[in-house]
């Protein structure tokens, strides 16, 4: 087990290094440059001076090594745009994204798993067809369009929920206020996952329901509920956990479109703006954090496999 962990950590370290080199190269070599260098009122001398101050006049490998040196010391640099430490900004945005993504994930699981199991238990019935139709609808619908439609209905027409932001600015901070702001983006973000999870739950549960041990369970007189949830679903969960695990990076990476459409202050919208503004330190910081989470979530999924299926061993 320990050896397995050590192996994974070394693997993760190497992966992060490769990712950082690739992203650093791509970002700094992309056409254009940091917005703060492109102010219309700055002349060539001012731009050259600014480039020197930011260290952008040095060779690429020197710039990278300098950045890496900072990172090793726990400093991700200063955002060109906000003028504040990248780590501090990510620290402020990450909880917002986690809140939104966790709400969306919870919502999608709560709806998708029962719907998927139900579909599997009664395949090719009207109920199954309805769930399947809704799943395809959920997967196919463009996020930004769905978001805008919800805003039009629930914010503009009905006036029930705020169209964007995370809280009422200047108002008292309350869980209720945040919940009101959270509902629409969580529904939009959850919709696609909901459909995906329901489909996987359905197919894996159906496969398990055909297995011999399920027949055995039924033949020894177990109730259908017990067969479905204690035997079939538990085994079907391996697939679902894998799919959910693959979605985990979004917990940290944020959903750029949803966050932008709803002006949710999270990692996704932060990444989009950083890319537009060519805020190199911010882009690199976000990349690093997301890569770390991808690696960690992959490890987490492996551990959950072992918990769900005791036959799995770590070597």
């Amino acid at each position: 087990m320990l050896r397995y962990f050590a192996h994974r950590i070394v693997q993760t370290g190497a992966l992060l290094l490769i990712i950082s080199v690739v992203v650093f190269t791509l970002v700094t070599q992309a056409p254009g440059g940091p917005s703060i260098l492109l102010d219309r009122n700055m002349g060539p001398d001012d731009i050259a001076r600014m480039r020197a101050i930011l260290g952008l006049d040095r060779p690429l490998h020197v710039q990278y090594i300098r950045w890496l040196g900072q990172v090793v010391r726990g400093n991700l640099g200063i955002s060109y745009q906000a003028g504040l430490p990248v780590l501090e900004i990510i620290g402020q945005m990450l909880p917002n994204t986690l809140l939104l993504s966790a709400a969306a994930l919870a919502l999608s699981l709560v709806v998708a798993i029962p719907a998927g199991v139900l579909s599997a238990a009664r395949p090719y019935t009207a109920l199954d067809h309805t769930v399947t139709f809704l799943c395809f609808f959920g997967i196919s619908i463009p996020t930004f369009w769905f978001g805008l439609m919800l805003i039009v209905v629930f914010s503009i027409a009905l006036g029930w929920l705020p169209p964007g932001g995370m809280r009422t600015i200047g108002g008292a901070r309350s869980a209720l206020d945040i919940t009101r702001h959270l509902i629409l983006p969580a529904v939009v973000l959850g919709a696609a996952n909901m459909a995906l999870f329901a489909r996987y739950t359905r197919s894996s549960t159906m496969a398990v329901l055909r297995a011999d041990y399920v027949r055995t369970a039924r033949s020894k007189g177990l109730g259908e509920r017990s067969v479905l949830y204690r035997h079939a679903l538990r085994n079907a969960l391996i697939t679902i956990v894998t799919v959910v695990g693959l979605q985990l990076p979004r917990l940290v990476g944020g959903a750029a479109i949803t966050e932008t459409v709803f002006a949710w202050p999270g990692m996704g919208s932060l990444a989009v703006r950083a890319a537009f503004e060519r805020d190199y330190p911010m882009i690199m910081g976000i990349t690093l954090v997301i890569s770390l989470v991808v690696a960690a979530s992959s490890l987490l999924v492996d551990l959950i496999y072992g918990y769900i299926d005791p036959r799995i061993r770590y070597e």
Binding site: V110, L118, F154, G159, W160, G170, R225
Partner: protein, 533 residues
């Protein structure tokens, strides 16, 4: 049994969600959703603002307009320079030494008095310091030093006669506190992280809170030298997406947003919204790279200008929200502007004749050629702005109609600007815009040594006029010089001057006292703005 259980789970989820919706929505009356405190003015910014007026960027500029002050600002009606931190100013006989008398009742937001030391520090240690990347240095580069006469008087000495100094001191030139920043090292000045967590200015609104990705909240400064603002607060909401801005405007979370012409009909239908056509000192243009063929030939530039139906562009693309441009000086600079210049009406026949005269004759495929080379022009435009994208398409077609093999290339704004500024500039032609100080001094943009001359334009005759204009102090004499400059430029056609577009503002009807000028300048007149019911 089991189906019933699953049904009850689903039903429970639906009921819970509906319950939350009803519970949270029940107290709300559409369309005015939670707006926060009533006496707050809300407007959008597309990104986090860095409240450090040394660095540019629209979000920073907007927030800094109300947080800080300048020595001079612009009158809300005439845009003429009037005192802000400076009460009055005068020029010595040597035409180099300006004396600025400062207001005596100004307090920084931390209660410390504003003095001449702050002015000297800001200009010498920040603006003119080569180690500090001040984004407006080009405007003040002719200042050589600042002498403190007493606590409330400074002398600003320029290297050369610099008639436009007061105007330039009002253009994005915020004064910063010496008592805080004076002890900063150069590294701290470059990255003033602590200062940004609690920025101190002298503007009518002081720093309240900044939540990254969400908003900046500035609150009324009770001891503002111009009297306490009537508003309690201004909130700059970070809203990058234009549709989200519109939704927030419709639901009352935003009181102002800038819209494009095609959005006017939509906003006009919104209850409690008014459209404000705000002229501002700007112009849009189709630029030529004057250093490369075929644009080195004036006849080609004139022909390409005649080929474009600018009136149609103004009416169909800008929906009439603006005025046809005749040159780089905006009509708002009324003392200098003249429309008595060579006009370039849409005239396809004349355009073709001029091209013939320049040696570009039509080939069998309709494309003009000279020395075997086809007349091929790539017109670059930035992605995402519908007005500029449509303009580019119309111009391409107009040029094709006179035998030019024209194509439009769309790229991201940063990439486009970066290419324009490459040495040498690899582009042939592009369409963009300029927003300038309310001044006739266009030396930076069109002088052969101008730091902002992106057009590669160089003409000794115009250079001389622009130098004269900058060094002449009598306004009538200056007006004559700039009249000649405008006539010369119109005839020489270094770029196609398209439109002086209005800034179209969607403004909540509850806002009163908002000056109908570009919102950057309007923000310097927030003291009198109120919110009605």
């Amino acid at each position: 049994m089991r189906t019933r259980a699953l049904h009850s789970i689903l039903r429970g989820a639906v009921i819970a969600l509906t319950g939350i919706l009803v519970a949270t929505g029940a107290s709300q009356t559409p369309p005015a959703l939670a707006q926060g405190p009533a006496n707050t003015f809300n407007l959008p910014i597309i990104d986090n603002a860095r409240m450090w007026p040394i660095i540019g960027g629209l979000p920073n500029i907007l927030v800094n307009k109300v947080l800080y002050s300048t020595l001079v600002k612009y009158d809300a009606k005439t845009l003429a320079p009037v005192g802000d931190l400076a009460e009055r100013w005068s020029l010595a006989d040597d035409k180099l030494t300006w004396t600025f008398n400062l207001r005596r009742n100004v307090l920084w937001h931390d209660g410390q008095p504003f003095t001449a030391r702050d002015v000297k520090f800001t200009i010498e240690r920040l603006w003119l310091n080569p180690q500090v990347p001040f984004f407006q240095r080009a405007n003040v580069v002719d200042v050589s030093r600042v002498d403190i006469v007493d606590d409330y008087t400074v002398r600003i000495v320029t290297r050369v006669p610099f008639a436009t100094l007061p105007v330039m001191l009002g253009y994005l030139a915020n004064i910063l506190p010496e008592h805080i920043l004076g002890r900063y090292t150069i590294d701290q000045i470059r990255n003033p992280v602590d200062f940004l967590r609690n920025p101190i200015g002298t503007g009518p609104f002081r720093f309240g809170e900044a939540v990254i990705g969400s908003h900046v909240r500035l609150v009324a400064y009770d001891r503002y030298f111009g009297g306490r603002p009537k508003l309690d607060a201004i909130v700059f909401r970070v809203v990058a997406d234009i549709e989200q801005q519109l939704a927030q405007f419709q639901t009352g979370q935003l009181d102002l947003m800038i819209i494009e012409p095609h959005q006017v009909p939509i906003v006009s239908r919104i209850r409690n919204a008014q459209i404000v056509d705000a002229p501002q000192v700007n112009y849009t243009f189709v630029a030529f790279n004057n250093k490369v063929e075929p644009f080195t030939d004036r006849r080609v530039r004139q022909a390409l200008t005649h080929a474009v139906d600018r009136k149609a562009i103004l009416e169909k693309i800008y929906l009439g929200k603006g005025r046809m441009a005749t040159g780089p000086i905006n009509p708002l600079v009324s003392w200098a502007y003249t429309e008595k210049v060579q006009q370039f009406p849409y005239d396809k026949a004349r355009a073709q004749r001029l091209l013939e005269e320049a040696g570009w004759t039509a080939g069998p495929d309709g494309i003009r050629r000279k020395g075997g080379q086809p007349l091929k022009i790539a017109l670059d435009v930035d992605r995402g702005n519908p007005v500029r994208e449509q303009t580019a398409v119309v111009v391409r077609q107009a040029w094709r109609d006179v035998g030019v093999d024209a194509e439009v290339r769309i790229s991201e704004f940063n990439a486009l600007l970066s290419r324009i500024r490459s040495k040498p500039n690899p582009l042939q032609s592009w369409t963009l815009w300029y927003i300038t100080p309310p001044e006739a001094d266009i030396l930076g943009y069109y002088h052969s040594d101008g730091t902002l001359n992106e057009f590669g334009y160089a003409n000794p005759e115009l250079d001389k006029l622009l130098e004269e204009g900058r060094a002449t102090f009598d306004q009538k004499a200056r007006a004559k010089i700039y009249e000649r400059a405008q006539r010369f430029m119109a005839w020489d056609a270094p770029v196609i001057f398209l439109v002086y577009p209005h800034e179209i503002q969607a403004l909540s009807r509850r806002i009163q006292g908002w000056p109908a000028i570009g919102y950057r300048d309007a923000l310097t007149h927030m003291v009198g703005v109120t919110i009605g019911r």
